[in-house]
């Protein structure tokens, strides 16, 4: 596989964020969004293509985890937390 381009990494980033916002549990949702943003930001200056590919592969695995866990969370969802009504932002 050719090494991941900037566009592919951004697509992955957007896909992960989009999926994470679907977590029904407030704490999981906020954690996932925050962690993804911080992780991509932390690694934004990585130049080595091998390292980039490793990171991308891990991110793809994590995206799979997020998809499954979002789905399970929705199957077993419960009431919102007391602070969810007050603020709309998802982070």
């Amino acid at each position: 596989m050719a090494s991941s381009s900037r566009a592919q990494v951004l697509d992955l980033y957007r896909a992960m964020l989009r999926e994470s916002k679907r977590f029904s549990a407030y704490n999981y949702r906020t954690y996932a969004v925050r962690r993804i943003r911080d992780a991509f930001r932390e690694n934004k200056n990585v130049k080595d293509p091998v390292e980039i590919q490793t990171l991308v592969n891990k991110a793809k695995r994590d995206l799979g985890i997020i998809r499954r866990q979002v789905h399970i969370g929705q199957l077993y969802s419960t009431d919102k937390l007391i602070i969810e009504n007050r603020d709309m932002p998802r982070t």
Binding site: F23, Y26, N27, Y28, T30, Y31, A32, R35, D38, D62, I65, I66, R68, Q69, I72, G73, Q74, L75, Y76, S77, T78, D79, K80, L81, I82, I83, E84, N85, D87, T91
Partner: protein, 406 residues
């Protein structure tokens, strides 16, 4: 985790429509049906349901009592609860082999977090069982000069970190076994059993975003530490803990340890910032607040504060929208003040007014701010109602009062 049901409403609505009063809500498992998948059984008129409106859950600020499962941990566990259900001790077929492989992988993950060899990790049902195994060793070794030092790495009530490396050094030089209950510390602060000269360590799954009902005990091999089995039977776990190893649970523990190793630095930084925010914001708005525990040797995620002239239980009840505790869960049923606070010399009255705030991996800034806001509001309100507070405001020194005996 409490589960609510949209089809409880449906059932209630149906029984309300058909028969007499709806039955009292049962405590059974109920699943919520997604709103986007309407069921024909649900009457369109949801106003028929006698429910009072959405119940909002409290914020969770009690991570020292237990932690939520990290989604990565659940994801690792599920295959072993669905298809890979073999007994890891079955030697003759693929179900057993794959289960055993998962168990050994988990063992390696736990060992890697604390700098141990996988052969030194025995899976147990939790840190309590691990503690019992480690302490029983004292009775197993009959020599009169053998002894055991047992210290908690991070205290669960006040968050104080013990000088483990120094204690380990002393024990090793005096040929005394050193056990530490690291339930609150594993995966949160760096631990290395060799650097810190630890001989025995207890690990708890549900304190590190892993499942409940599983833990591990680390037992040093070089030099060999002999323990006596608490639970005898089929000889599993090198004879030290018989019983089928619960593969799904240990896979969860292993995954929790691996995630903890990766996230330790990030979590620690964030939790420290949130803890600072909580403490500063409370202390700048409220006088007479004391933080219990040495601030220099302190794990930031466990904050124990005493609010003078306020009774701890009343404050806990007032903060009904935040899940908090006033001390150790294991003594929460009794009305005695915490033995830990008493031991560090806290005055009786301050010990009764202590609250423990737990900040974890999933705690948000909003949750901290909400908790601070409510805490300030209710402490002020309770103090307004307190005659002791009134006396203090009038300049009376409470310690000088001679209370009459009745």
């Amino acid at each position: 985790m409490l589960l609510r049901a949209a089809w409880r409403r449906a059932a209630v609505a149906v029984t309300a429509a058909t028969g007499p009063k709806a039955a009292a809500p049962t405590r059974g498992l109920r699943l919520r049906v997604r709103d986007c998948a309407p069921r024909s059984a649900v009457p369109a008129d949801t106003a028929a349901a006698p429910e009072a409106g959405p119940v909002l859950r409290p914020l969770y600020m009690d991570v020292q009592a237990t932690t939520p499962l990290d989604p990565r941990v659940l994801d690792a566990m599920l295959p072993y609860l669905v298809n890979y259900y073999g007994n890891p001790h079955s030697r003759t077929h693929a179900y057993g082999w794959e289960s055993e492989a998962a168990m050994e992988r988990a063992r390696q993950q736990v060992a890697s977090l604390i700098g141990a060899d996988p052969r030194e990790i025995i899976f147990t049902s939790g840190a309590t069982e691990s503690n019992n195994i480690a302490i029983k060793e004292l009775e197993a070794a009959i020599q009169p000069d053998t002894s055991l030092v047992s210290i908690m790495t991070v205290n669960n009530e006040i968050g104080v970190k013990q000088p483990i490396a120094e204690i380990g050094q002393i024990c090793s030089s005096r040929k005394v076994y050193f056990h530490t209950d690291a339930a609150q510390a594993v995966g949160k602060i760096p631990l290395d059993v060799n650097d810190m000269k630890i001989d025995l360590m207890s690990i708890s799954g549900h304190k590190i975003y892993g499942p409940k009902g599983v833990g591990a005990v680390y037992i040093r091999r070089r030099p060999r530490v002999r323990v006596e089995a608490l639970q005898s039977g089929g000889g599993q776990e090198r004879g030290m803990r018989s019983g089928t190893v619960p593969t799904p649970l240990v896979v969860g523990l292993g995954a929790a340890c691996e995630v903890a190793q990766q996230e330790m630095e990030y979590d620690h930084k964030r939790i420290s910032k949130l803890a600072e925010r909580l403490i500063q914001n409370i202390m700048k708005s409220l006088p007479d607040v004391v933080m219990n525990g040495d601030p220099k040797h302190h794990y930031p995620g466990c904050i124990n504060l005493s609010f003078a002239y306020v009774e701890g239980e009343s404050l806990l009840m007032a903060l009904k929208d935040v899940a908090l505790s006033s001390g150790s869960a294991c003594t929460s049923a009794s009305l005695e003040p915490s033995y830990v606070l008493r031991a560090i010399g806290t005055d009786e009255d301050l010990a009764h007014s202590s609250i423990r705030f737990g900040i974890g991996r999933f705690t948000t800034e909003e949750e901290v701010d909400y908790t601070v806001e409510k805490c300030i509001q209710h402490v002020k309100r309770l103090r307004e109602m307190s005659p002791l507070w009134e006396m203090v405001q009038d300049g009376i020194d409470l310690k000088s009062i001679k209370w009459t005996q009745h």
